[in-house]
């Protein structure tokens, strides 16, 4: 894969994967003894989400649990079929239903799971996991030696060296960080263009999170991968991602380059998120100066509030917020920074 440098200089690198108006409603099924309700509503996990992943860039998707960010990852990986909206890979609409087409798609778009303790099959060795990834995507080579080389190469890439020390280990013989590296190596086995990393470090111990994040960044730079980094930790988005998109209750509320979004949050929810994040510089007792955090909780996605979904918790809520859902509105401070909030409606701007 030749680097994007061959192209004429552009303001932003090439868009690899783009989602437009992505929507996923899960039918709420009466499963087992659980459900007694008469109607069959659906859970609006993701509503009208658009984002773009660019070559050699990390886009962070930040949100609380239940905000739909993992569902977006699974939609992009085509593990779920979207209810509405489209996904384009290099501008081509994606329809990955069916085994062969899905396999072709998964060769280019790979998903890394949150929990390395769960995403590796406990009964298989590292070798098995990686060999399968290579074989499925036809990269195992002709001979046994090709395969061994490819395996060693994968492990070296994720800095599990020497490779032979790890190849025949079972997942439970590895530490969390090592497992996540194996999971990344498996994803790399397909030689993808896009990595969808769903909270890749949240299950890891603090001291080893950075190692994994740094590895991902390194891979991005060396392999020009487009990476979607899903996290609930907005501070790590600032550290790791080029762009950041914030989700709330299944919808995108703000987006822009990471530094802008974290340093000058526009949407009241982003502000709340940033104020709530632990900050060692704000020592005990120094809490009083921060904005008052709402006491509410995220809404039900089966019966979401009308208008802006954040309005029941928003300190700035206006009458309009209760009835009309705000579209993404550009914020002037940096290119591409937008927020879905009526506060930034042109008509209201002075």
């Amino acid at each position: 894969m030749s680097a994007g440098s061959a192209r004429p200089a552009a303001p932003a690198p090439e868009v690899v994967l783009a989602a437009d108006g992505l929507t996923k409603h899960f039918p709420v099924r009466a499963r087992g003894r659980a459900l007694l309700s008469r109607t069959r509503p659906s859970l609006r996990a993701v509503d009208d989400v658009s984002l773009t992943l660019r070559r050699g860039q990390v886009t962070a998707l930040v949100g609380e649990s239940g905000s739909g960010k993992s569902t977006v990852a699974r939609l992009l990986a085509q593990l779920h079929q979207q209810t509405a909206g489209s996904i384009r890979l290099h501008g081509e609409p994606v329809s990955a239903r069916g085994g062969r087409r899905f396999r072709a798609y998964s060769r280019r778009v790979q998903l890394i799971f949150q929990d390395p303790f769960a995403s590796l099959n406990p009964v298989h060795t590292v070798r098995y996991h990686l060999t399968r990834a290579l074989k499925i995507h036809g990269r195992a080579g002709e001979s046994r030696k090709d395969l061994e080389d490819a395996l060693a190469d994968l492990l070296t890439r994720v800095r599990l060296t020497p490779p032979e020390r790890y190849l025949d280990k079972f997942p439970h013989e590895l530490s969390g960080g090592q497992r996540q590296r194996v999971a990344i190596a498996r994803a790399l086995g397909a030689d993808p263009e896009v990595l969808l990393a769903d909270e890749p470090v949240s299950m890891l111990d603090v001291s080893i999170r950075l190692g994994v994040l740094n590895l991902l960044r390194d891979l991005k730079e060396r392999l020009h991968l487009a990476i979607l980094y899903i996290t609930h930790d907005i501070a790590s988005a600032r550290y790791f991602a080029d762009d950041t998109v914030v989700m709330y209750a299944g919808q995108v509320v703000e987006g822009g380059d990471s530094e802008t979004v974290t340093q000058r949050p526009a949407h009241p929810y982003t502000q709340l998120l940033i104020d709530s994040a632990p900050d060692p510089d704000r020592l005990a007792g120094a809490d009083s100066g921060t904005r008052e955090a709402g006491t509410g909780e995220p809404p039900s996605l089966i019966t979401p509030p009308p208008g802006c979904r954040f309005h029941p918790r928003c300190p700035h809520a206006m009458a309009r917020c209760r009835t009309e859902a705000p579209p993404p509105l550009a914020i002037g401070d940096s290119p591409g920074h937008f927020a879905a909030c009526w506060l930034y409606d042109e008509a209201r701007q002075p």
């Binding site: 009466a30 003894r33 459900l35 007694l36 309700s37 008469r38």
Partner: protein
């Protein structure tokens, strides 16, 4: 209550499936009630009887299997289970009516009692691991590995006989006619003791074991630790926190394994000559009495379904998570 409706739909479907299996299995396979009757008599009936019995049972004309099936379903809808061959012309419903109360009494009560005692012992065994209670498991496992009938026969040999308190067979003193007087009820209890004890010994171990395992699992739950941390009495932690939650899977287990339990307990009736459905089924099988076999099998299945439903309701009551408002 769509949950209940769903369950009821499932039960109806199962009942239909049982009826169908029940209808086809004996018919697809050769066998002849008249010949069975003659053979059983071993020369006490003349060969000439054969033809008269065919006429009597209405077996001289051959209807197609499908016709018979449709007719059978129609009869069932009217609550008519047909006439028994062995007790011709007694209606199957009457034969079953005579036996069902005994089975319900013996198997029903012992199953419930076995469940309660087993669960109770299992609770203690799971809670007090490392004490003498641990002995309960191997002992009951061994006891439950003994076939019901063998245990029953040994019990009959050892505990009955002239002058013994325990009668060897029957459901009540044969000189008594069923009535609700003290004498009869006492006789029924006396006759029921040994069969009941046999069933209890054999079936309890399963409950003990599953309850113990659930208790062990639940004892490690945070809310049990919290209950300890709260300084609640050990008894309350055990009963109200651990056992109450450990019970839930056991209740659904009870519902699901009733089919197995009932099957096994029927043998006890055979051994103790207890005039219940098991004994009747056994004899009907020997006599190729399809209508009776089908009727008994149907009733057993329906009883198990009903018990399942009751267990479902019990689960609904026991687990608040299944009772969702709105």
């Amino acid at each position: 209550m769509s949950y209940l409706l769903k369950r009821i739909a499932f039960y109806l479907f199962t009942a239909w499936a049982a009826i169908t299996i029940n209808f086809f299995v004996p018919r697809l396979i050769p066998g002849d009630p008249v010949q069975a009757l003659i053979t059983k008599a071993r020369g006490q009936l003349t060969a000439e009887a054969v033809q008269s019995l065919y006429v009597l049972f209405g077996l001289d004309s051959e209807a197609s299997l499908l016709d018979q099936y449709v007719r059978y379903l129609g009869q069932l809808l009217r609550g008519d289970l047909g006439l028994s061959f062995t007790f011709f012309p007694s209606p199957v419903a009457e034969v079953i009516g005579d036996s069902l109360p005994w089975t319900l009494g013996l198997v029903g009560i012992t199953t419930v009692v076995g469940f309660l005692i087993g669960t109770g012992l299992g609770t203690v065994a799971g809670w007090r691991r490392g004490s003498w209670v641990d002995l309960v498991i191997p002992v009951t496992t061994f006891l439950s590995s003994i076939p019901y009938f063998w245990l029953g026969l040994i019990a009959i040999t050892l505990l009955t006989g002239p002058g013994s308190f325990f009668p060897a067979s029957g459901a009540h003193d044969t000189g008594l006619v069923p009535s609700w007087d003290w004498e009869f009820v006492g006789s029924v209890l006396q006759h029921g003791l040994l069969p009941a004890a046999t069933i209890l010994i054999s079936c309890m171990s399963g409950w003990i074991l599953s309850m113990r395992n659930m208790m062990v699992t639940v004892a490690a739950e945070d809310y049990v630790t919290v209950a300890h941390a709260k300084g609640l009495s050990e008894r309350r932690v055990m009963v109200s926190y651990a056992a109450r939650n450990a019970l839930l899977p056991n209740v659904s287990g009870l519902a699901l394994s009733l089919g197995f339990i009932v099957g096994g307990t029927l043998l006890v009736e055979i051994v103790f000559s207890y005039p219940g459905l098991g004994l009747q089924l056994f004899q009907a099988v020997g006599a190729k009495d399809y209508p009776l076999m089908q009727g008994i099998f149907l009733i057993i299945t329906l009883s198990v379904l009903l018990a399942n439903f009751l267990a479902d309701v019990a689960y609904l009551v026991l687990d608040p998570r299944t009772r969702r408002e709105g």
